[in-house]
Each structure stands twice: as structure tokens, then as C-alpha cells.
């Protein structure tokens, strides 16, 4: 018997949302439809008939009050909200062949999405660097502290790299 629920592990970086959308669409065309998103990089799919689904990811950290208005707009426009993960909103819509539905229909609003993401990355980044700078001045009073430092340094570098990639994406969009 073929299993009807399939879990896949796949990692996407914060600036690879379009790649992720394309991958999810490809899975649907192979009959694997996203069922839920939860932990980062774990995707649960339900097996079904192949369908031509367009997936779109929005970055929208809404409050509870704003949530209903936000989701209602997408529902009315024919988009199904599949789930959310750390303010990333997963939507999908069945598309006719050759049709390419979009949730963002102009450059300015697309730029605004990446600016929200960039803002979030910078907020995460700020305290990390402050801690690192303070600690570097201290020497190594305890051996375990250097482990934390290295971890912090790696995370900080990744966040910084992600922020740069998102920033470049904004620049590229603005040049279009």
C-alpha cells in the first residue's frame, strides 16, 4: 500500500522563497500536496491526484486582530492558506495551464515584503552583535564560553549573510 502522507526534509534559506514556491508547485504536479508546515525544513505532503498548484509565500507578521482581515482577503481572491512558519504565510491556488497567479502584483509591494523580512533579520542580528562585541573584549574566563561565542559568531554570520541577500533582492527588484 502506498503511504498517503509523506514527510520530506528540505532546507531553504530566507532569500530562497521563490525557489521554495517552485519546489512546492513541482511536488503538487507530482501528486504530493503540502499538508502542513511546522518545523523549519520539514514538509508534510498528502498524496493525491497531480494538480497544477501555484504556491506563494508571503512574509507577514500580523497580530491576532489583523489575522482575520488578512486571511479573508486571500480567501476571497481564491487562495488557500496552507499554514505558517515564523511569519511566513503559505498560500496556494490551482492555476489553469499557462496561468501564473500572483499575490503581489507590483514591484513596490513586493519590495515591501522583503523589507519586512529584512527588518526582522536586522532585529535578530542587532543584540547578537552587541553581545559578541562585549564578549570579545573579555578574554575567555570559562572554556564553555568560547563555545557559545563560536556558535553566536556562526549564527550572526549566517543572519548577516541572509540580510545581505535579502537586501540585494530588494535592489534587484527596484532596478526592474
Amino acid at each position: 500500500m502506498v503511504k498517503d502522507r509523506v514527510t520530506r526534509f528540505r532546507w531553504f534559506w530566507a532569500w530562497q522563497d521563490e525557489k521554495e514556491e517552485a519546489w512546492l508547485g513541482e511536488m503538487s504536479r507530482r501528486g504530493l500536496h503540502l499538508a502542513s508546515v511546522g518545523l523549519p525544513c520539514f514538509y508534510t505532503f498528502i498524496r493525491g491526484e497531480p494538480r497544477n498548484m501555484t504556491y506563494r509565500l508571503d512574509y507577514q507578521p500580523y497580530t491576532k486582530k489583523e489575522r482575520e482581515d488578512y486571511l479573508q482577503l486571500f480567501r476571497d481572491a481564491g487562495w488557500e492558506h496552507v499554514g505558517e512558519m515564523a511569519a511566513w504565510q503559505y498560500f496556494r491556488k490551482e492555476a489553469a495551464p499557462g496561468e501564473n497567479p500572483e499575490i503581489y502584483t507590483d514591484i513596490e509591494s513586493k519590495v515591501a515584503k522583503y523589507k519586512r523580512l529584512l527588518g526582522y533579520l536586522l532585529i535578530l542580528l542587532a543584540p547578537l552583535w552587541v553581545i559578541l562585541i562585549i564578549q570579545f573584549g573579555d578574554g575567555v574566563p570559562y572554556p564553555w564560553l568560547s563555545g557559545i561565542k563560536i556558535f553566536g559568531f556562526v549564527v550572526g554570520t549566517l543572519l548577516l549573510y541572509a540580510a545581505v541577500r535579502v537586501f540585494l533582492r530588494i535592489r534587484q527588484l527596484r532596478r526592474l
Binding site: E66, T105, K113
Partner: protein, 108 residues
């Protein structure tokens, strides 16, 4: 609250312009999407992401207000300030269209 100079909002993006134009009368989000497509004669379609961002911004800036809620769908309408801004945008567009037309005729 003291208001910014309305000129700072100009020029509006094409989407925001049509969204505001469709909110001369109260309308909910989905109605805005349909009306934008109709009044722009199919040249502009507004996706829900773009619309949500525009409505949020316009409301925050006091250019539109929520007027009612039905079936969880909120209706918005332009404020006086919003109307004033829209008028200024129309004036700019008229100049653009007229100068473009004149240049086009001369070039012909």
C-alpha cells in the same frame, strides 16, 4: 493629529491609485479587487498581498477608514484627506496624459 503634506504621497503607484479610486464609495477588499480590474479596463489586477499592504498603509495614514463589517469582511471608504490626495493625483495624471498626447501628435 497634524497631517503630512499630501504632496509627499505623490505620485501614487498605479495599484494604490486604482484602489483609492474604487474607495470613493464603501467597498470591501474583494470588491476592490474586482472594481480595480473593471475601472482599469483589465490593465491592472491587484493581488491580495498588494491589496492588504495598500489598505493597511492607507488606513494608518488616515486616507481611508473602516466603515462597516459584514460576514467578516470590512468595508473601507476614502476620508476627506484621501479624496484630496486622489484629486491631486488626478491633476498630475491629466498633465501627464495631455503632455504625452501633445508630444505624440507633434511627433506624428
Amino acid at each position: 493629529m497634524a497631517r503630512n503634506n499630501l504632496d509627499n504621497y505623490l505620485p501614487l503607484t498605479e495599484s494604490t491609485y486604482y484602489i483609492m479610486l474604487s474607495l470613493l464609495e464603501p467597498l470591501h477588499g474583494y470588491g476592490v479587487m474586482q472594481r480595480v480590474e473593471a475601472i482599469s479596463r483589465g490593465t491592472v489586477r491587484v493581488g491580495p498581498g498588494t491589496l492588504y499592504g495598500a489598505l493597511t498603509m492607507l488606513e494608518k495614514e488616515g486616507l481611508i477608514v473602516k466603515v462597516s463589517e459584514e460576514d467578516r469582511r470590512k468595508s473601507y471608504q476614502l476620508t476627506d484627506e484621501g479624496r484630496e490626495l486622489l484629486k491631486k493625483q488626478v491633476q498630475r495624471l491629466e498633465i501627464m496624459a495631455a503632455s504625452g498626447r501633445a508630444a505624440h501628435m507633434a511627433g506624428k
